[in-house]
């Protein structure tokens, strides 16, 4: 059991990371990683939604009629996503408008539905909750890495605070405009996948 639990926690972070290995949730990871603040909120939202929906659906797993199971999953996931959106609107309005459609689109994020179908419907509530939680963290981790690189080199700031000193700009340093654009996020994800496969040889395909 202990080894299995360890696997549930560590797999989503590294060897079965939703973004770098399963290549899920790419769309939102390109869109919300221009600034670290947005990426953190998105990472937190996805983690909460994935963890709670896995928990709820795992609790319901033996009673759900098989023919309508996807619909039931969607109802639960959408409810949680709308709840998160409402809470953000009340407590972090600027970030909510900045993330715009991408909060709503968590509903269609493949990670959420994927983990429910693959894990939560066949496992007990606690392991399911942990599986959802760490898949969310695995997704969020990559988001944060991307956002740090993009905000630092694209705007010279982190969380809105100036990191690259003014003296650099005076000496002729310019922010890299390309890093701000979505294609650069895709290139960065490619680099992360490259590094990860270089380290974890078992992920390499022939």
């Amino acid at each position: 059991m202990n080894a299995k639990l360890k696997e549930t926690i560590l797999n989503p972070l590294f060897s079965v990371n939703p973004i770098t290995v399963l290549v899920l949730g790419i769309c939102s990871s390109l869109a919300v990683t221009v600034e670290l603040k947005g990426a953190l909120v998105m990472a937190l939202s996805v983690t909460i939604v994935t963890a709670l929906s896995c928990l709820v659906l795992s609790l319901l797993r033996n009673s759900i009629p098989n023919r309508v199971r996807i619909i039931i999953q969607l109802v639960v996931v959408s409810m949680l996503v709308i709840l998160v959106d409402q809470i953000l609107k009340a407590y972090a309005y600027q970030i909510d408008t900045q993330l715009s459609v991408y909060i709503g689109l968590i509903i269609t994020n493949c990670i959420v539905m994927g983990r429910i179908e693959a894990f939560a419907l066949a496992n007990k509530p606690i392991p399911s909750f942990l599986d959802g939680l760490f898949n969310g963290i695995g997704y969020g981790m990559i988001l944060v890495i991307l956002a740090i690189v993009r905000e630092l080199f694209g705007s010279g700031t982190l969380l809105g605070m100036r990191i690259i000193p003014q003296a650099f700009y005076d000496a002729g340093y310019v922010n890299n405009g390309l890093v701000i654009l979505p294609p650069m996020a895709l290139i960065l994800i490619g680099c992360i996948i490259w590094i990860q496969r270089g380290v974890q040889k078992e992920l390499q395909e022939d």
Binding site: A31, S63, P65, V75, Y93, P182
Partner: protein, 244 residues
């Protein structure tokens, strides 16, 4: 128990849906006051950004107190330019975006003479800056914004636009790209021309009452242009009167 029977499926699904709806309804009720305060502060910061006040990063309370300090007059007019009523300054009453939407649907029904049109006059560095709203349709949903006019009622001091669901990175630039609203500064409206202000695809050249459209967002740019032209038409009697 047979979880695959029709009756079970229907009852089960109904219970889940009703439960979810109840949870969302309770959450919505509980969070509404805070959301409304956020929306009001956001609306105020939109019109004040148009008038070139700095509202970025301010808290709701700071925005409200900035508004109270800067507002000189706020009132409602009709489309003949006559004043209908004053807005309550003490409670910093504003004309919300949903009210603008309602006015726009009155306009669309062809009953422009029944419309209520808000006017805000701010005191900015000793000058009277008049702010008026515009409302229209973008590519995917409504777009709206505020135009700020210098005391001559012709020159634009600034503008701010917002949208509900324009494409991020393209149409959404009307809000996200500060260089778009910067294009308005120093331009002027020409009430004798039709339209009084234009957004031109392919470049406005030296025209004083036009700006360039956004590349890749033709429909949104056209929507903004139409919204400005339509609403300036409504404010024309008032602006002409105020000009004299």
């Amino acid at each position: 128990m047979n979880t695959n029977s029709n009756a079970y499926t229907i009852v089960y699904t109904s219970i889940i849906v009703i439960l979810s709806a109840a949870i969302l309804a309770i959450a919505s009720q509980a969070l509404k006051p805070r959301q409304d305060a956020n929306i009001k502060a956001d609306t105020i910061s939109q019109m004040m950004t148009a008038a070139q006040f700095k509202t970025e990063g301010l808290s709701n309370d700071a925005i409200i107190s900035l508004y109270k300090g800067a507002i000189k007059e706020s009132f409602i007019i009709d489309n003949k330019g006559g004043k209908v009523s004053d807005m309550d300054k003490a409670s910093s009453e504003i004309f919300s975006t949903s009210k603008l939407k309602a006015q726009n649907s009155i306009l669309k029904r062809g009953k422009a003479d029944q419309m209520k049109l808000p006017v805000y006059v701010f005191n900015k560095d000793g000058k009277d800056i008049t702010v008026i709203p515009v409302y229209g349709a973008g590519l995917w949903g409504p777009i709206w914004g505020y135009l700020a006019l210098e005391p001559d009622m012709k020159t634009l001091a600034g503008a701010f636009f917002n949208h509900e669901s324009e494409t991020p990175g393209l149409g959404a630039k009307i809000k996200d790209d500060p260089s778009f609203r910067a294009r308005f500064v120093g331009k002027s409206i020409d009430l004798k021309a039709k339209p009084a202000f234009e957004i031109i695809k392919g470049g406005a050249g030296n025209k004083s009452n036009a700006i360039d459209a956004i590349t890749g967002a033709t429909m949104t740019s056209r929507g903004v242009g139409d919204a400005i032209a339509d609403w300036l038409d409504l404010y024309k009697p008032y602006l002409t009167k105020a000009e004299e």
